[in-house]
Amino acid sequence: MSMNVAIIQFPGSNCDFDALHAFRDVLGVSARLVFHKDTALGEADAVVLPGGFSYGDYLRCGAIARFSPIMPAVMAFAARGGPVLGICNGFQILCEAGLLPGALIRNSGLEFRCQQVDLAVEDSTEFFNKAHIGAKLRIPIAHGEGNYRIDPEGLKQLEANKQVIVRYTKPMGNPNGSINDIAGIRNVAGNVFGLMPHPERAIEPIHETEDGLPFLKAFLHSVSVPV
């Protein structure tokens, strides 16, 4: 696939190199890091906001990163229909920036959780669906604030629009108290995606599973054919 993936490097991002490795070395697309102080994305067909603790997450997670100099370019890219994926802290930033609805608050168990989770794939878009990705994925999480919340009206719309892309399911179950077991969502237009689990940690034989591969591939497919 000839495409360019821009991975945004916020101060405190710590999955930036993992995302780079996943897209460049494992998926074989052209990928590079874009520093948060830049104001332009350069040549980019897709944007990834990686996991980490941007700005230390000392305010709310993602609350300061959304004001980074690079964010207007990311917002404009998304507004043009460009595909954007936020993983973990990247998901939190997308919610803070208003590119995705809802918010992520402290895990219901009040503790950071690093473990495998089971995800049920929802039929959401042409590429994010059971037939394309598989009905169930096992992928790790690592977060302290992944408890997805949204107001009742918003939830209704989210479900009605089929915006949920993955949900926590058995046997590992819901690790953080997220409403409706939501682990990942997309925007209405279908070009902005966010999830708390880390697909980039489940893509190679050394990992416990390689279930992250079909998920990341579905994202790359969304580049060529917007919903």
């Binding site: 405190g12 603790f53 700005y55 230390g56 950071f112 959780r113 690093c114 495998q116 050394i206």
Partner: protein
């Protein structure tokens, strides 16, 4: 040396040095006379403070130096892989070769006293400090582990400390994005009030990228980078070098406050700076004793002098005097010496990361550390007097009286187990917090970040991949070990076993050992009975390292681990990294398909002393530590590795705390599912408790596919290693022993996995 210094600009520092003041700085009258000889005059108060931190045990090893001499610092065999590239005590951390021009660099360090007072910050800054020691060497940190020791978990204060320490490690390490791949946690009443918090960091670097903590090149600028200096952690090194008392809580300012976000920026900025060819002359973190230690140590290593101006030091509080600035242990700071004329390059990099980079001084002719404040020289000391010429003591040693009594203990003094006793003993042992699952701990640590963790915490050793820039990969295993009960009941043998067990864990993971780092946690060395345990257990470590040709890369000494009721058990925690040469050889302790033959390597046990069985079932800490024959141990390791290499082993697990049945049960608890086993163990020849729960050394369990069993037994015979088939694994989750005992493996797993959460989530 100037014969006098001008008055300090801070009037409160211009005081006469009285014997009381000297004593308050933990400096002995003789040591004070030595200081005066070095200076040719009375020291100023700031200088006294500088000597007190640099000559503390934490920085100077004054009471431990003589016993550390026995550690091998290099490979005896110059042709073997894993040669040492930077030796113990040469730099902030040692480096060992992993091939193809790459090395790994690792070290373990304690933060016991700060964690006793302020568990969250104490443990968090413990992680921060050791991570800086590693990236100072030019290495990118890629793994963390830790060794933790607490009092009895039923004590609410212990629960608070345990929770706080785990949260602190989690908070700091997770934010940095360095996976926590393993560690060990034990609970014993001896640690009440004085927990042990030992954190290890491992980094990776090219041979050509190794950086040194040296100040060289007269006129080269000295930079202070990272966070601003505050009054926190004042004199922390000195605080760590005395006993905890009831009043220690008032020492809270001696505990530092950590900011992992700042550390992450500092890490990235420093690695970026060190990657610029020829820019950095020397670099050292400001850890214990802060600015004092980093400036005099870099000067001393470089055989240079250094001058620094405290007015240029970034400060986050107003009105700090020179004593406070020099002794502050504020976190996330580094000292860097760069090539003169290239100041802009370092300043640009730190501006990019929004960090301070203050030009605070220069490398000078001579060998003195000169410190100025407000235009006045406030300290002028020969750097080597602080670093190399501190006192060294050979302490008095005396065997503790209790050892004669505990050695004489015999199993005949307790009743043997009947089958009902066996039934409940296994459940109780699996639910002992020291043996029970530590998932409650490690699920709070990000152990997947960097996407390279190959064997997550929970098996014999953590295993992770190192991705080299040229697409090649290396696999590293790491294990931490130390059984305090063994060290308390036979310090020398306890030391030998700590190393042997760690190596056994590595062998079971498929790894050959590289080098060891150790954290010597003991009580007050001025007590002869305590010093005896130091001397003996360190000799045990050193003898074992020499025997197995595992050099010591460095580590940390933590004395004065005492609470008002006495010293902690001798606890020389060891951590050894190993290399797994082929990916296929990565082995875990878990049953894979439920059809394997189970083989006991190393014969039946014949001892019960110092065991967890005695602790958990009889409430005893007595008997002699199990015997160990190093030749037999080595034969076992070689055999384990040879069979893994031949592709015959589905699972391998070392036998340690709890003995045979506990180890077997642990193999059934695969992360994905619970297996069972049918065991046939001849019980007539021996006491049942000894046979099932004794902790005799040099033993391991294999799970082998049935088709390969004969080959393994045959190879064992040739290698002279005892190998006995004791049963087979089953898919049905039931553990059956001789038709006399049957346990539901699910209920065993429940006891094992819920022991810690049931206390911590109440």
């Amino acid at each position: 040396m100037p014969t006098s210094l001008p008055p300090n600009p801070a009037p409160e520092l211009n005081v006469t040095i009285t014997p009381e003041l000297v004593k308050k700085h933990n400096i002995l009258p003789d040591e004070y006379e030595t200081i005066k000889r070095f200076l040719g005059r009375e020291p100023t108060l700031t200088e006294l403070g500088i000597f007190s931190v640099m000559w503390s045990e934490h920085c100077s090893y004054k009471n431990s130096k003589p016993v550390l001499k026995g550690f091998p610092k290099e490979k005896a065999d110059p042709n073997s892989p894993g040669q040492i590239l930077v030796r113990m005590q040469e730099e902030n951390a040692g480096v060992v070769d992993i091939g193809d021009g790459w090395g790994i660099c690792y070290k373990i360090e304690s933060h016991n006293h700060p964690s006793a007072i302020e568990p969250f910050e104490g443990a968090a800054t413990g992680v921060g400090g050791i991570v800086r020691d590693i990236f100072t060497m030019g290495a990118r940190p890629v793994a963390l582990t830790n060794s933790l020791r607490f009092g009895d978990l039923s004590n609410p204060t212990v629960q608070r400390l345990f929770r706080g320490v785990v949260h602190g490690i989690s908070h700091y390490g997770n934010c940095l994005g360095i996976p926590n791949v393993g560690g060990d946690v034990y609970f014993d009443p001896c640690y009440e009030g004085n927990p042990l918090v030992n954190a290890l960091c491992l980094g990776v670097l090219r041979h050509s990228e190794i950086k040194r903590g040296k100040a060289t090149g007269v006129g080269n600028p000295v930079y202070y980078v990272g966070a601003a200096t505050g009054r926190d952690g004042l004199g922390g090194a000195a605080f760590a070098s005395r006993e905890l008392t009831e009043e220690s809580k008032e020492d809270r300012p001696a505990v530092q406050k950590g900011d992992p976000f700042m550390e992450k920026l500092l890490l990235e900025a420093c690695l970026e700076m060190m990657a610029v060819p020829g820019l950095v002359v020397g670099i050292q973190d400001m850890g214990a004793a802060g600015l004092t230690c980093s400036s005099c140590e870099t000067a001393s290593r470089g055989n240079s002098g250094v001058i620094i101006d405290l007015d240029k030091v970034p400060q986050r509080e107003t009105g700090m005097n020179s004593y406070e600035i020099m002794l502050s242990e504020s976190q996330e700071r580094m000292l860097v010496i760069v090539v003169k004329g290239r100041e802009k390059e370092i300043e640009d990099i730190f501006a990019k990361w929004d960090l301070h980079a203050a030009h605070i001084g220069e490398v000078t002719e001579g060998n003195d550390m000169v410190v100025k404040h407000k235009g006045v020289v406030i300290a002028h000391i020969p750097a080597k007097a602080l670093t190399d010429e501190g006192p060294t003591y050979y302490r008095e040693s005396k065997e503790p009286a209790y050892l004669a009594e505990t050695r004489a203990w015999r199993p005949e003094s307790i009743a043997d187990l009947d089958s009902a006793g066996i039934q409940s003993a296994l459940l109780k042992l699996l639910a002992d917090p020291s043996i029970a699952s530590k998932a409650w701990v490690y699920r709070q640590y990000d152990h997947h970040v960097m996407a390279s963790t190959t064997v997550a915490p929970g098996s014999d050793a953590g295993v992770f991949r190192i991705r080299l820039e040229d697409g090649k990969q290396k696999f590293i295993a790491i294990s931490n070990d130390c059984n305090n009960r063994y060290c308390a009941l036979n310090p020398y043998r306890g030391g030998l076993i700590a190393v042997a067990e760690c190596l056994r864990n590595l062998a079971c993971s498929g790894a050959r050992p590289l080098a060891m780092t150790d954290n010597l946690n003991f009580g007050n060395p001025y007590k002869p009975e305590v010093f005896y345990t130091i001397k003996e257990s360190v000799k045990g470590l050193a003898d074992a390292c020499t025997f197995f040709d595992v050099p010591v890369l460095g580590g940390n000494v933590s004395f004065y681990n005492e609470n008002p009721t006495g010293a902690v058990d001798p606890t020389p925690t060891v951590s050894i990294a190993g290399q797994i040469d082929r990916e296929e050889c990565i082995t875990t302790q878990y049953i894979k398909d439920g059809f394997e033959t189970i083989i006991l390597l190393g014969d039946w046990p014949n001892e019960l002393g110092a065991s967890y069985f005695l602790k958990t079932i009889h409430g005893l800490k007595t008997g002699d530590t199990p015997e160990i024959d190093l030749n037999r141990e080595r034969a076992l390791h070689d055999f384990i590795r040879s069979q893994i290499d031949a592709g015959r082993v589905a699972a391998a697990h070392d036998l340690s705390e709890g003995g045979l049945l506990v180890a077997l049960a642990e193999m059934l608890f695969s992360p994905d599912r619970t297996f069972g086993a049918v065991l046939t163990i001849p019980m007539d020849a021996q006491r049942h408790d000894v046979r099932l729960f004794g902790e005799s050394q040099s033993r391991a369990l294999f799970a082998v596919p049935p088709a390969k069993t004969a080959a393994v037994l045959d190879a064992a015979k040739k290698a002279g290693v005892s190998a006995i088939i004791i049963g087979r694994a089953t898919i049905q989750p039931e553990l059956k022993l001789n038709g006399t005992n049957t346990w539901s493996a699910e209920s065993l797993r429940k006891a094992w996995s819920e022991a810690i959460p049931s206390v911590m989530e109440r």
